[in-house]
Symmetry: C2
Subunit: 264 residues, 2 copies
Amino acid sequence: METITSTSNQRVKHLVRLRSRRHRDAEGRFLIEGYRELTRAVDAGIDIEEVGFCPSLFLGSNEPALLSAAEAAGANLVEFSDEPFRKVSYRDRPEGLVAVARQFATGLDRLRVDGEPLLLVVESIEKPGNLGTMLRTADATGVDAVIVADPTTDPFNPNVVRASIGCLFSVPLGVASTDETIRWLDARGIPLVATTPFADRLHWRADYSGSCAIAVGSEQYGLSDDMLDASAERVRIPMHGSADSLNAAMAAGVVLYEAVRQRQ
Amino acid sequence: METITSTSNQRVKHLVRLRSRRHRDAEGRFLIEGYRELTRAVDAGIDIEEVGFCPSLFLGSNEPALLSAAEAAGANLVEFSDEPFRKVSYRDRPEGLVAVARQFATGLDRLRVDGEPLLLVVESIEKPGNLGTMLRTADATGVDAVIVADPTTDPFNPNVVRASIGCLFSVPLGVASTDETIRWLDARGIPLVATTPFADRLHWRADYSGSCAIAVGSEQYGLSDDMLDASAERVRIPMHGSADSLNAAMAAGVVLYEAVRQRQ
């Protein structure tokens, strides 16, 4: 097995390039860094082409088993020495694992929802950390799918992978325009519950017990008029402090857990 | 008025030094960067000694009024040109405002709680971003106080100020050991509701309608045995995915909003 010892190696440069959206889109590939993230990707059957690893940076003792599982699923393993690995890592504390994977399809046609599904719709979220945290919370609440409408953040951004701790791979994900999202929900008879600071009704007064899609808008501007107009109901999370005192991911989590409470 | 144009100016060096805890502790000062953060600090009557500002980086038109308010409250204003300001800013997108303030007292003796208060107790939180988000959510839910028990993160860390968007100044804050926290709550007859993945009872089954302190533990280890032993009740947030799929700040927000729902 080859070991990469130079920071000017072509593989190092390739991994660094994949941090930029332009290169990710052009190649149809993306980065998965970290133990938990790679574990979830392998478990979810993500097409991992290559795993770069650096044993001196491993934090635990399960990394070799994870590498074997990735290799068995078809990934090429490449060892890095410390210095080039630190160059490809985008973390302060690298865990010695970074993979290159094929981007997967995110069309709404791949989402399967039966019965009375609970969905999260997030529109135009700007911060990768917020989108990742929302995916993590969607995993915790067991939503049937997350739809990213009118994305401004690429879901394959390394910071989405990181903040989601790999829940990007475990949660069914669709990416579409707001228009397409509204039509898709409408065709399936799934009512939209829109969260907005301008609603009268408090979020716990809505009924989440049947089919329902909870919509949360961008950090700066909230939901679009189109999304608000398409909603069956608008709700507001009560706010004691100023209007900016809840971040978008927290808002999603609070409403999702109220839905879980009602549905249980 | 003096304008700082050199990155090697002593004031620039001083501001950069205050990013480190050692210097903050030695001086009893800390940094407040950003428009929303400084606004909340001025509103809360924080003792602001100096505000560095850089008009070319202002994002809006209200900055001069904020500077006047800070000056009226006793702050010295110092103008920076772009380059030295970018050096003192710890943000990717500086907003042209960074202040030096005196650290304020955080002893439990300054907390005033009457009637049937709702408190948040956070123990040994490691990430400044999580502590800041918890303060922000505490502001949104109108808790009577936040107690930081056995702190591993300095609440005056610039990233706490930032993630809290200044709610560090609007929320009554106490910092103490776990022992002292338990004794303080006990003396006031405020029961602890401990969140832990090992509880049987789901978080919405607890009663938050009277006096109550919701305790959330560190990202890695959860609550200490001392805190768990001192609790009147232990609750668990139901988790569909793996145990790590909710971050500590999200957990705090979900239980706080359940308490708000019950108390309303």
